[in-house]
Amino acid sequence: MMMMAPVMPLSTLMSSILRRTRRILLATAAINIDAVERFDGDVSALDLHDITAVGGFGEPIGVRAAFSFDNSLLRALYGRFTADIPVPRGQEDLFCRDTAAEIANMILGTSSGDFPEVGRSIAMTPVIVLTEDRHIDRRHHAVFGTMRVRAPSGRLDVHLLRPRELFDNRLNQLVV
């Protein structure tokens, strides 16, 4: 008989993502997190703002993750990330969006290493970047978790959405 892996609580995953976010912002951009607000349960809607990088984990974690960056925070990260490479004229916005994707990739990648008990390779979803503000109401049996991270240069909102198959990679809700 096949054993089903227990569902990982969003709060556990969020704690890992917070820990990794703190380390990565500090290590890559010398940005310290000043404050964190967490809403692990009973979140009925999500608001995406400015630039949002969307990725996630395949089964058995099965979660989509959205990282909404304030423009001011993202500009600060972009400055650090591109300090040692040439950015072609006219491609600043592309590199800025890619900064958001790279940060999300690093956070999700390192976070996936926090769960060795999962026992096999966790498939990562390629990160895509959304540039429009969005409001997403929770429908069907979706579960949301949210965390707001504040730094001197701006805020980062992290949203977790489950089940993964209820949303496409642009976070449109699908009927399953």
């Binding site: 040692d84 490479i85 990562m124």
Partner: protein, 128 residues
């Protein structure tokens, strides 16, 4: 035998990672002869360019780096493929090594890490 002056191909969907790899590789004396932004484009580009080695991102749209590595090696068994990954993706790296990749470097990208990885592969570059 010096490893400098090799022809490299970069496969990465991130323009920042690709740029950082180019800068690091050129600082080591290599030439980046081509870049692909997805795993799906990598085998054809490899066929066209026949580089001395490839740096391959793991998580990419269309086709991931593990599958792209398999496809390159199925046609070119002597290809030298080095994976580029984030910390925490060790299991995906293991999949890539089983697929035939010869080494890996962990982001953030540093020229020293690329250099030491290539140094370990010196014998693979002989007679090229």
């Amino acid at each position: 035998m010096s490893l400098a002056g090799r022809r490299a191909m970069v496969v990465d969907d991130s323009v920042i990672a690709a740029s950082k790899l180019r800068v690091a590789l050129e600082s080591l004396g290599h030439t980046v002869v081509g870049s692909a932004a997805s795993g799906a484009d990598a085998p054809a580009l490899y066929r066209d360019l026949r580089p001395d080695f490839v740096t391959m991102d793991i998580v990419m749209p269309d086709m991931d780096g593990v599958q792209a590595t398999r496809e390159i090696l199925s046609e070119f068994p002597d290809a030298v493929v080095i994976m580029v990954t984030s910390l925490g993706q060790e299991r995906m790296v293991m999949d890539a090594l089983k697929a035939g990749a010869l080494g890996y470097i962990v982001k953030p990208i540093k020229a020293e890490a690329i250099s030491s990885t290539l140094d370990r592969l010196t014998s693979r570059f002989e007679n090229r």
